[in-house]
């Protein structure tokens, strides 16, 4: 569910403006943050969200909306949108750690599993999956060198497109999960 191979192009897109060495450090840092968030969720995610009255699907929808805005900036760099300042700096917490690694599906699963399994089993499985993902993603930052500067520039628009489509998919999935499926069935009838 962390889906490291699927995340590789998205990571490359987000890290395009950062030198390669720094990129690897950032990936590692973001992975550790994501692990922290996921462990937090496995331990007490349900009550935590309940305090603020946040539905789990809101994470997906809001993550999708912000990812959408970032992708728009990549596709149309000249538009002076009021929301997102031009990302010249390195990404921190968003969008790599949340929602690309610690995304809505893995967080929801952690909360569910927390009810069935013991905390120890859940945390062990999580750390195991996390280690594999980290190795894959850190290794993937090598791809940046392979592509080169002009290659990355050519990829940027395509990456922006992929990021945007991914964001729309997140929003759609979140909306569908929020509203009961009977509602859509009734609308269809």
């Amino acid at each position: 569910m962390i889906d490291p191979p699927g995340n590789i192009p998205l990571f490359l897109a987000a890290l395009r403006s950062v030198p390669e060495k720094r990129g690897r450090a950032i990936v590692l840092r973001e992975m550790i943050i994501a692990l922290g968030v996921m462990v937090l969720f496995a331990l007490g995610g349900g009550p935590l969200l309940a305090i603020f009255g946040i539905q789990i699907t809101s994470i997906g929808v809001s993550g999708g909306v912000i990812l959408f805005l970032i992708a728009l900036k990549m596709l149309f760099p000249e538009t002076h949108g009021p929301m997102i300042p031009t990302q010249s700096g390195e990404p921190f917490l968003f969008p790599l750690a949340i929602p690309l690694i610690a995304g809505p599906s893995i967080l929801a699963t952690l909360i569910e599993l927390g009810r069935i399994e013991t905390t120890f089993v859940v945390i062990t499985a999580l750390v195991g999956a996390w280690c594999i993902s980290t190795v894959i993603l850190v290794a993937s930052s090598q791809l940046q060198r392979l592509l080169g500067d002009s290659g990355l520039a050519a990829c940027e628009k395509v990456m922006g497109l992929v990021l945007l489509l991914f964001a729309v998919q997140m929003i759609l999935d979140g909306l569908q999960a929020t509203f009961p499926s009977e509602l859509f069935a009734r609308l269809n009838a």
Partner: protein, 196 residues
Amino acid sequence: MLELILKFFAILNPLGCMAQAVSMLRHFSPARQRRIIAREVSIALVILLAINAFGDQALSYLGIKITALQIGGGCILFLIAQSMLFPQESHAGDVADADIEKKEPFVVPLAIPLIAGPGIIANILIESEKHPPRIVTGALFAVWCISAGILLLAPQIGQTLGKKGLAVLDRFVGLLLILISVNMILEGVKAHFLPG
């Protein structure tokens, strides 16, 4: 097939590309300009054909469904179209122009994103879900031939139409694209939430 050709033609918008390409390349000699344009349109064709061939595998790999493609592609096309209807002072072409004044443009920004832009890429992927690959490839190739011809004749056409004529044309195509893009978004929303 014909509707596909017309649709691709409107989205690829070779006449709009032409105006920007001319302004970007005005520092080169006509013969050199023609060589650059010929190279860039060939690169764009290769890219578009590759997307046509492998695009859907890439999308399913990322877990992106066709409805998300319709909605996302519609949003991009809408934004492109509205910038054609309400042109800004600092146009995208001018910004790019400042960077490459002396350097010869290679792949970026002529092949990508001016010719093989996000709008046409998204549309190729959508249409290849609806039609057999032979038809999409054929339509794509036909539109590319026309566009390549127009771009190669860019200096002459620009002179005939004049600045005003090009601006008027841009408005018309922009309006058409707004309609196409809203239709894409609506189709995507409907297909996602009310399948069948």
